[in-house]
């Protein structure tokens, strides 16, 4: 296409910043889910990526079977994931936690493998996509291409994250979650039912993972083991932001989105994921409380 | 020459100065008490001397040789052993194995290391518990197990971090006798302790620290009447 003007260096930069922030907002949502759970229970939930995967398939099937727009189906899947998460905590995780953090880690690894392979068994390993009529032509504000599904997902991610922020800062259960996260013993002494709060938090984390999955579904290929890649990214995010810190996870998510999209343009497409992992290792080794110094080491 | 020399020892955590230009000596054959209000920096001093923390500044010499920068296991092998404020036994291993592991630091053969462990365990009165799991011992027994483990490394200097915390009066008496016996066997002791009666009774000398700084250093009876020390304990009488 000789006639089309090549994008200038500034356009390329702005374009990759925009797509980095858009993807990053969804990463942030996944990271927030993992980090609140870690904050309250000190569990690193290796099955978190599979919860995102379930959200993605939820959106896919709602669209394929009931012709439901994926972004509408979020109203169905979020409460379901929330309830499911609470049940998982109550009946599966709670009896394990006293066995120590490594046992819990291995247990969630088992859970992750179980869910991913049940999904593989039920839905095969085929790559699937959700084809939306409004996904064909992107928006072009100021000449920057913004895919409509990603824009909607971004807007919803902001709404959901803001709602979560309000919940954590303005409501009693939200404050109880934050108090438990800061100091479980003190929280228990002040009459907070740590068990109930843990269950609530795990439900919340699962709901966030599911919501992120639904929002991501129209923009990604989906397949049963996609959680494996997502969880790896998720660790990068929460460690960058400081484990246990909600605002850190949001910043970490956007940062990873930016690093990936800028890295793909300015370093190499092949190694864009490597940059994230190297940052992850450096932060773990030299700034275990996260780049912003707010997490728990 | 003093056995241990701590000079101008300083440790910062971020912006917080936990230990500030602290200097003291421990002489051979001495029981030195290290006291101070909660958060004064006593455990931090132990962690610095044993290499679990790296000092921001200052010197730590064992018999004239610097141990700064050595990792904890190397310091143990130089002759400084320690116990922990919150006991850290190897919970799922037997009492005998707990102490044998320590004896390995200077005795490579398992048979001899095990015999050495049995001897040390007898000294602390745990000879009937050789095959119990460490996790199954009472707190008092676990504290003695930690002392045995430290002794089995054949130390010249033993740092005891609250060996009497949480013990009943009878156990405290036994622990005092044990510490005095350890000194009689030629091992110097530095003792951090909140059980004041005990520390007054067995220490040859007491160093008091407050906010990471030394505020008194001398024999127990003099330190206890020091106005600065009394003020540091918020006006409450020490004994």
């Amino acid at each position: 296409m000789a006639l089309r003007a090549r994008p200038g260096p500034v356009d390329t930069f702005v374009q990759s910043v925009v797509s980095g922030v858009l993807t990053g907002s969804l990463y942030a949502m996944i990271g927030v889910g993992l980090t609140v759970v870690f904050g309250v229970m000190r569990i690193i939930n290796l099955a978190h990526g599979e919860l995102v995967m379930l959200g993605m398939y939820g959106a896919f099937w709602a669209h394929a079977l009931w012709k439901l727009d994926p972004f509408v189906s979020i109203a169905l899947w979020v409460p379901l994931m929330f309830g499911g998460g609470m049940l998982v905590y109550r009946f599966l995780l709670r009896p394990i936690i006293p066995g120590g953090e490594l046992n819990t880690l291995l247990y969630t690894a088992g859970f992750s493998l179980l869910i991913a392979n049940l999904a593989l068994f039920a839905w095969t390993g085929d790559y699937r996509t959700i084809k939306l009529p409004y996904a064909i032509t992107p928006l072009r504000p100021f000449g920057i291409a913004v895919p409509i599904p990603l824009a909607i997902a971004f807007a919803l991610a902001i709404v959901i994250t803001a709602a979560l922020y309000l919940f954590l800062s303005r409501t009693d259960p939200g404050r109880a979650i934050r108090a438990t996260s800061q100091n479980p013993e003190a929280a228990a002494l002040m009459g907070i039912d740590v068990e109930r709060i843990s269950m609530l938090t795990f439900g919340l984390g699962s709901a966030l993972a599911g919501a992120a999955g639904v929002l991501l579904a129209p923009s990604l290929y989906l397949y049963p083991t996609v959680g494996e890649i997502l969880i790896a990214k998720c660790f990068v995010i929460v460690v960058l932001g400081g484990l246990g810190s909600v605002s850190g996870a949001i910043a970490g998510g956007v940062l990873l989105g930016l690093v990936e999209s800028l890295g793909a343009v300015y370093v190499s497409v092949a190694y864009k994921d490597t940059i994230g992992f190297i940052m992850f290792l450096l932060v773990l080794l030299f700034r275990p409380s996260g780049l912003f110094g707010v997490g728990k080491s | 020459m003093p056995l241990l020399t701590v000079a101008d020892l300083t440790k910062d955590f971020g912006g917080l100065r936990a230990v500030s230009r602290l200097s003291f000596d421990a002489e051979p054959g001495e029981i030195l008490g290290l006291i101070g209000p909660n958060g004064a920096g006593k455990t931090t001093v132990f962690n610095l001397v044993t290499g679990f923390l790296r000092p921001t500044a200052g010197r730590i010499l064992l018999a004239g040789r610097s141990v700064v920068g050595l990792r904890p296991h190397a310091i143990t092998r130089r002759g400084i052993a320690r116990t922990f404020q919150v006991v850290k036994p190897f919970p799922r291993l037997s009492v005998r194995e707990n102490v044998t592991l320590a004896a390995f630091s200077h005795e490579a053969a398992r048979g001899r290391a095990e015999r050495l462990a049995a001897q040390v365990l007898e000294r602390v009165g745990l000879q009937d518990k050789l095959d119990s799991r460490a996790a199954d011992l009472t707190l008092g027994e676990q504290k003695r197990l930690e002392i045995a483990r430290a002794l089995a490394t054949d130390p010249r200097l033993l740092l005891l971090d609250e060996p009497m915390g949480g013990l009943n009066p009878r156990e405290v008496n036994a622990a005092c006798a044990l510490v005095e016996q350890i000194r009689a066997d030629g091992v110097s002791v530095i003792l951090v302790e909140h059980v004041m009666k005990a520390i007054m009774r067995i220490s040859n000398r007491i160093v008091v620290i407050h906010h990471g700084e030394k505020i008194a250093d001398g024999p127990p009876e003099r330190v206890v009447n020091d106005p600065g020390v009394i003020a540091a304990y918020l006006g409450t009488r020490v004994v």
Partner: protein
């Protein structure tokens, strides 16, 4: 049973199967079980004894596999020598990884090994000059081996069976020796409490790095064998996270820090998995996940550890 007769029994148990059957599926199953025994035992050295849960052992497997393949395809070195060299290269790779990751403890160590493994996988995927990238490396013919006029048949599974049987036995022997050695005792101390281990004079970093190297050596051998047996490697086959995770599962389900545990784990999980795969093609790891959850909840010492305890307590 004396140690000698136990050894003889194991030897017979291992040597006999190919004489009883020539069914390729059964032999393939036996080879798979033994390969996983080797990998589970290798992982167990570090994970079981020292309590250091690595989620990155696929790195050593992949490095072993690629070393063997590359040396054969590009240098003409017979793959059985290549396997040993593969183990050694895995050891070399393990040293910097150990020095970096062992600065972290508990779950943080686990996450860091996961990150390193992903970095290594991405490098293998993109360093096309060395690894041929996603296309992978293929062995078309194996070198001819003649012993006194008898030519080894590479199309049969029997030579592979004996090869992997020897490797698996070697890994079990190493586990046994470690459990008797001072290093083994140090590792248990590290598993129980790292600070306390340092305080009694144990150089914890050295102990862990040495053990990781040993573990990497056996894992690398396993990778080399994989390349030789399947004659094909690509990054998705030998470097995935799932592979690391499977090693963990075999060791944990079988019984941590035991000689027999990884065999039990491998027999149990691999047999169920392969039978499931034979019938349904996908999803055979369902049982891995399920048994991991059951074992952690009801039998934290693993199948073998739990059985042994119950046996010791019998009236």
């Amino acid at each position: 049973m004396t140690r000698g007769s136990a050894g003889a029994a194991v030897l017979v148990l291992v040597l006999v199967p190919p004489l009883l059957t020539s069914n390729p599926f059964l032999l393939h199953l036996a080879i798979t079980v033994l390969l996983w025994t080797l990998l589970g035992a290798a992982w167990n050295l570090l994970g079981g004894f020292a309590g250091q849960v690595s989620f990155g052992h696929s790195t050593f497997f992949g490095v072993g596999a690629y070393t063997t393949m590359i040396l054969y395809l590009k240098g003409g070195l017979a793959p059985w020598y290549g396997m040993v060299l593969g183990g050694m290269v895995a050891v070399l790779v393990s040293l910097p990884i150990g020095l970096i990751c062992f600065r972290l403890r508990g779950p943080y160590f686990s996450l860091s090994t996961l990150a390193v493994a992903e970095i290594v996988r991405l490098v293998a995927l993109n360093w096309e000059g060395l690894t041929n990238g996603p296309v992978g490396l293929l062995i078309t013919t194996l070198p001819r081996v003649v012993w006194g006029g008898w030519t080894l048949n590479w199309e049969s599974k029997v030579p592979f069976y004996y090869m992997i049987a020897i490797l698996a036995l070697a890994s079990m022997l190493a586990t046994y020796r470690l459990s008797r050695a001072r290093l083994g005792a140090y590792l248990l101390a590290i598993r129980e409490d790292e600070d306390a281990a340092e305080s009694v004079g144990i150089d914890t970093v050295r102990a862990k790095v040495l053990t990781l190297a040993l573990s990497a050596f056996f894992t690398g051998l396993g990778g080399g064998f994989y390349g030789l047996y399947f004659r094909y490697v690509d990054p998705d086959a030998v470097f995935p996270i799932a592979l690391s995770v499977e090693m963990v599962f075999i060791a944990v389900v079988g019984g941590l820090a035991t000689v027999i545990g990884p065999v039990i784990g491998a027999v149990f999980l691999t047999t169920i998995g392969e039978m499931f795969r034979e019938r349904f093609l996908v999803g055979h790891l369902i049982f891995y996940g399920l048994f991991m959850m059951l074992v952690i909840r009801y039998l934290p010492e693993g199948i073998w550890g739990g059985t042994r305890r119950a046996w010791a307590k019998r009236p």
